[in-house]
């Protein structure tokens, strides 16, 4: 076991964590970023499509290229990156236990003593349960995306996708790019959840989008894996209507039923939480500097509410700058100038019919923080 000090520990090397580490390191902080995966980048390296957004967010670039660029920037800024490193405990006094897998396959327990902590642990996929949902061949859309885009393995030949949010639409498209067929996309709601342009892409490729439908059963083939999906129409309460069942032949069923923030470490750090339907579940209360109810513990990205990579990048930048303020590396007024510019950008991302609700909710949550927490911030 070893003990090490750092100015800033960033947990999670996705877009939010990487951009937080870059900002803090550029302002002179000694930053360690840890991630339990073998590769950094979070979900970015799975995103082979061109991103929306403004030029300030590298829009038009593919997620995978944005990931590479962030990694280079983090290395140039002097950030220390620990991969295959799992945070297994956060103790009073900001003592953090990390189990680190070394190059020779052994693991080492490190106690890290950071001044500031940024938690950017992202989100995890929701599950929909139906008959035989544990059959091999039923998987999260994110898992299928990892298989095709990171590991270059097709999950099967013919897919039925559940869920028409952007994840369901984009992964359907990418499954076809990888050479699979998508037999149908099934959505319980009466309209497509994600961006119309993503829906239009898969419709042009001949994929039917079956609204007001759900999957009621995975059919098990002779080999014990998925051989079909039973779908059915749903009523206005999203209950399957008996007699409307239909079987679609397929060997893969992918579930894109939304994401929920990954809160384990945020809870462990003692941050005050609130439940928020818009943002996908329990999230930490935080102020406009991304600092939580615990002094010196910052949050950013999907673990503060499920959004997208561009908002994660910008929230990460704010958290990194704020950590540097706590360390005394930049004055509050200089930091405010930078943070205000980022907030302006974030506000513009949270506009339009898809973003407005999130902007309103984020403002409400920051207001809630000021009402309930501000003067009683805890010390870690």
């Amino acid at each position: 076991m070893s003990i090490r000090k750092a100015d800033v520990l960033v947990i999670g090397a996705g877009p939010a964590g990487l951009s937080a580490s870059i900002e803090a390191a550029r302002l002179g902080a000694d930053v360690i970023i840890v991630d339990l995966n073998m590769k950094p980048g979070g979900q970015l390296f799975k995103q082979i499509h061109k991103f929306f957004g403004s030029s300030a967010h590298h829009s038009g670039s593919r997620g995978i290229d944005i990931g590479r660029m962030l990694l280079d920037e983090a290395k140039d800024a002097g950030v220390t990156i620990w991969l295959k490193s799992t945070v297994i405990g956060i103790f009073p006094g900001k003592k953090v236990s990390i189990e680190r897998e070394m190059d020779d396959g052994t693991s080492e327990l490190v106690t890290l003593l950071p001044e500031e902590i940024v938690i950017a642990t992202g989100a995890s996929e929701n599950v929909i349960r139906f008959k035989n949902w544990t059959t091999p061949g039923v998987m999260g859309a994110g898992a299928a995306q990892t298989m095709i885009n990171v590991n270059h393995v097709r999950p099967g030949k013919r897919v039925v996708m559940l869920g028409s949010g952007n994840v369901g639409l984009i992964v359907s498209y990418q499954l076809m790019q990888a050479g699979c067929d998508v037999a149908a996309l099934v959505e319980a709601a009466p309209k497509v959840g994600g961006y119309a342009v993503h829906a239009a892409k898969i419709r042009r490729a001949g994929v039917p989008i079956l609204l007001r439908h759900t999957i009621t059963e995975a059919v098990i083939g002779e080999d014990g894996t998925v051989s079909g999906a039973v779908i059915a129409e749903v009523d206005e309460h999203f209950k399957p209507i008996p007699g409307t069942e239909e079987t679609i032949d397929c060997d893969v069923i992918t579930l894109a039923a939304g994401l929920k923030p990954t809160m384990d470490l945020i809870k462990l750090a003692g941050c005050e939480l609130t439940f928020d339907g818009v943002f996908g579940g329990y999230i930490p209360l935080h102020d406009e500097n991304m600092e939580t109810s615990v002094r010196g513990v910052f949050v950013a990205g999907d673990s503060t509410g499920v959004e997208e990579a561009n908002t994660a990048l910008d929230e990460g930048r704010i958290a990194g700058i704020s950590a540097a303020v706590s360390l005394g590396l930049i004055s509050g007024s200089d930091a405010d100038e930078r943070r205000d510019a980022i907030w302006e950008r974030l506000d513009s991302l949270r506009m339009g019919p898809f973003g407005e609700r999130r902007k309103k909710e984020k403002d409400h949550l920051i207001g809630l923080f000021h009402e309930e927490v501000k003067d009683q911030r805890a010390f870690a």
Binding site: H49, K50, F51, F52, G53, S54, S55, S59, G60, S61, R62, S164, M176, Q177, G179, P190, K191, V192, Y195, A196, V197, H198, A199, A200, K201, I202, R203, R204, A205, G206, V207, I209, L211, N310, S348, L349, R350, M351, G352, P353, F354, G355
Partner: protein
């Protein structure tokens, strides 16, 4: 039915949300058709156009507006739109045929001279057509722009080809 209810644009819906090039402009040669109808935060098409023909401005959720007089139908925006929602339509290719240029990110990429089945926005086969151009320079960043020649009457319908 709107695109959110069926997943594809109807031409009427498109005309309601976007100012399409006039018939008179179509008679003068290739021009971009922007099929972007939802206010999402996105603006790479604006910077992509070397002729200043696409305007978004502020806020970034504003729908792109095409100045069809400035547009020369070069197709650079087709490769740059992250939503793959811009096409170039040339209704003057020959007396009886038009071309439609569309982004195509599937393998195999078609080759010039091949006959392919052209499909509409719903993925339905419309007609057969000949691939007359495949542009895939490095600057298009792996989004080839494929141009297919089809009977002129299908120019507003055809938006891709059958995969494979």
């Amino acid at each position: 039915m709107s695109i959110a209810e069926c997943g594809y644009l109807t031409y009427d819906e498109l005309k309601e949300c976007q100012t399409l090039p006039s018939d008179e402009r179509f008679e003068r040669g290739p021009v971009a058709v922007i099929e972007c109808v939802q206010q999402i935060p996105c603006n790479p098409c604006e910077a992509a156009c070397h002729f200043g023909a696409i305007k978004i401005g502020e806020p970034i959720t504003t729908l792109p507006a095409l100045d069809a007089e400035k547009c020369v139908g070069c197709g650079v925006c087709v490769s740059r739109c992250p939503g793959l929602a811009i096409f170039v339509v040339n209704k003057t290719y020959t007396k009886d045929t038009a071309t439609v240029s569309f982004p195509y990110e599937y393998e195999p990429v078609p080759k010039e001279g091949e006959e392919k089945t052209a499909v509409n926005r719903m993925g339905e086969a419309v007609c057969s057509g000949k691939i007359v151009k495949v542009a895939d320079p490095v600057s298009f960043d792996h989004t080839p722009v494929v141009t297919i020649e089809i009977p002129r009457e299908y120019a507003d319908e055809v938006r891709s080809i059958e995969r494979g």
